[in-house]
Amino acid sequence: MEELAVKMQGITKIFNQVKANDCVDFSLRKGSIHGLLGENGAGKTTLMNVLYGLYQQEAGDIFIHGAKAEVDSPLKAISLGIGMVHQHFMLARPLTVVENVMLGRKSRRGILLDTKETARELQTLSDKYGMGVDPYSKIWQLSVGEQQRVEILTALYMGADILLLDEPTAVLTPQETNLFFDTLRQMRDDGKSIVLITHKLEEIIAIVDEVTVLRDGKMIGTLNMDESVTKDQLTRMMVGRDVLFNFKENTRAPGAVRYCLKNLCARNAKGVAALKNFSLDIREGEIVGLAGVDGNGQSELCEVLTGLRPLDAGEITLDDEKMANRPPAYFISHGVCHIPEDRHTTGLAMNWDLELNLILKCFYKAPFAKHGLLCKKAIEEYWEKTRAAYQIKANCGGDTARSLSGGNQQKVILAREIESEPKVLIANQPTRGLDVGAAEYVRQKLLNTRGNGAALLVVSADLEELLQLSDRIAVIYGGELMGILERGADPYQIGELMMGKKQEVSVCEA
């Protein structure tokens, strides 16, 4: 029997009467990479937060290197040699790398900071694992991938030999992911024990020694990864049923250009150029996927295309209509619909009734309003009809949007945007944070909308999703169009463009 770095037994964690973890057992062998697989909300992160002392379990025991441990705070976890890299980085952006590191440890100079010594040691550690981190750069100056390396470096520096990584590759390009996996292997060979939280099956198969699957807060099973384990088997464990990975293909070919973007230039909220001469044509009955590392102008582009952000220069043409710098209402009345990035702040009025959220864009029109008064009956009827059609799980139309799960909230938005028969649909991260089933539903609806002849722009951080849905994939980097790839493109090629390598002009479509 090999030595166990971590053993968790019968862990139960309850949030508001919901069991986020229900009697979960979990063991991490020393010197191994252990995958923790499950859908969003399956309780993976909760389990690791319990191990890291951010949450206290209601029941269950934790053993570290064979000894029972009360991990009641992150400080305790750190002293036990546990380090965690969260999905949302725990780095203060205006501070430097070394400042962020010093936050977690006692200074050798008492109340004074020991910046120089710490920076030197960090540099040494960074060089050892080939991470290329400069201790004196400010966090906001670093790319997401670099920030992640800072997080791992911090954990190592604090003496962690058990590393908990929460969805570490969600923000990386395929190339960065490969490099990252090399680092992980090197750390494993150094004797570190690593937990990799993920919902990506490919990663489990690529790097993991063992995998534990969680579903609805319960442990489904632990497998030793060898050739016999298949993707389907893991999916079934994760989702509890078979999932269709292939959609009904809509064979209708794209038609004429519907939405024409020419040399768009715009600034972000801080006044910095976010779009630089961005040009793209989207044809009717076509899905153009927009790939890029988060924060490269995707959000600004979506806002410009729906009238929410002013354009500095450039032209937007919808059929023959000039759209640039028109108010959002003009876009809506001309059939430009929008599934916004953040359903909580932009997509829905969270404290409003569902039925009102559903008619936000047409409340002033018949049959919902007559002589300036809302017609309650028509609104209710419309809600009932839509709820049935979109299988929205809600008690009644009078419930607030907040009371629904993420998947059902997204269905309300989909219903609102798609039912108006859009000419153009701008969908920004339409499946972010949804579980596999709900994401599948959303994708199918997007394909149906394409089938009805709409022009779609789909922005997603999930490359897999873009490859599945898109007729063409455009890649944005630093607000510039890096290139456009046809269906069936190599993910590696996309990855290169995402990192700012411009496509050869000859391949670029005119």
């Binding site: 951010l54 725990m90 203060a92 205006p94 200074s107 004074l112």
Partner: protein, 314 residues
């Protein structure tokens, strides 16, 4: 006429007075830099200063010791801000409302304490305030000496806080923790920093400074207490912090701006310039507000500004 007004003597006294009047803005602003950097907006500075002013005056008056008065004013400021800290950190109350409430309460309580101790007198009690100290050697420098080196002890001490503030924020572990809990409390927490503890400390230091500045008004600038003695300086100090983008040196410039406008209007009034004195009295506030509004749109607030921290929230 103009030559008579704008003499060297006029400018020297204008600038010296600017520095003196800037002190009770700069000191609470420096204190609030700690507080706001840690993510707490304490709008109750005005009330805290009033409490410091009345305590400082009463203790100085009753014991005859100005230094004891200052010390008690500081401690009162700290205690008063402890209530604000409890409301905003432990009870997670809305900081704007809690701060405004603390002001109203502070104003009422300060007036009450004064009445209880001194009653209503036809001639309000007065003390001998801190006197100017001429720095040997330096105060003899022509012009500069009179502007910079002939102030009372508290003005010198106030300006010494400036490098101290910078040093603590940039060079000590405490300063780093303050910045971290204001920027990313969860990150600080996950690295074992007590978010509540650091925030409490930051609010208490802010109260200490505000109490000192309040006492300055009654025992160093004036020599008596009135209910209007603070006159909005607490609010100006809060605004100066934002104007200063949370940096100590910029806070000094903001305070000097207010001090200059105050000193200028006083002298223009004294010269009998034909503008209604009510309008003149508005000058420092108007100038400060204009400067603040234009400068503050560039301010980058700490990410967790005014947001209570709770570990369990997901």
């Amino acid at each position: 006429m103009l030559e008579k007004i704008f003499t060297t003597g006029f400018f020297v006294s204008l600038l010296a007075s600017t520095i003196r009047l800037a002190t009770p803005i700069m000191v609470p602003a420096l204190g609030q830099i700690y507080t706001q950097r840690a993510g707490i907006l304490n709008l109750g500075v005005e009330g805290t200063m009033l409490m410091g002013a009345v305590t400082g005056f009463a203790v100085a008056c009753l014991t005859g010791s100005l230094w004891l008065g200052l010390l008690c004013g500081m401690l009162t400021g700290m205690l008063w801000s402890a209530i604000m800290a409890w409301l905003s950190i432990t009870m997670k109350a809305n900081q704007v409302i809690a701060g405004l409430g603390m002001n109203i309460l502070g104003a009422g309580l300060a007036a009450y304490i004064y009445r209880v101790i001194f009653g209503v007198q036809s001639l309000p009690p007065a003390i001998t305030a801190f006197q100017s100290i001429s720095v040997p050697g330096l105060s003899d420098i022509p012009i500069l000496g009179a502007v910079f080196f002939q102030h009372n002890a508290l003005v010198y001490l106030g300006f010494l806080l400036l490098p101290l503030n910078w040093f603590i924020l940039e060079k000590t572990t405490f300063g780093l923790k303050i910045k971290a809990v204001g920027e990313h409390p969860r990150a600080a927490d996950s690295k074992g920093v007590s978010v509540a503890g650091v925030r409490y400390a930051a609010v208490l230091i802010g109260g200490l400074y505000a109490g000192a500045a309040g006492a300055f008004m009654t025992i160093a600038y004036l020599n008596t207490f009135t209910e209007a003695v603070i006159g909005g300086r607490g609010y100006i100090a809060v605004a100066v912090v934002i104007f200063a983008r949370f940096l100590p040196v910029r806070a000094m410039w903001g305070a000097l701006l207010f001090g200059f406008a105050s000193a200028l209007q006083m002298r223009l009034q004294a010269l009998g310039v034909a503008i209604a004195n009510q309008l003149m009295l508005m000058l420092p506030y108007i100038m400060t507000i204009i400067a603040l509004v234009f400068a503050s749109n560039k301010a980058e607030f700490p990410s967790a500004y005014t947001i209570p921290y709770s570990r369990m929230e997901r």
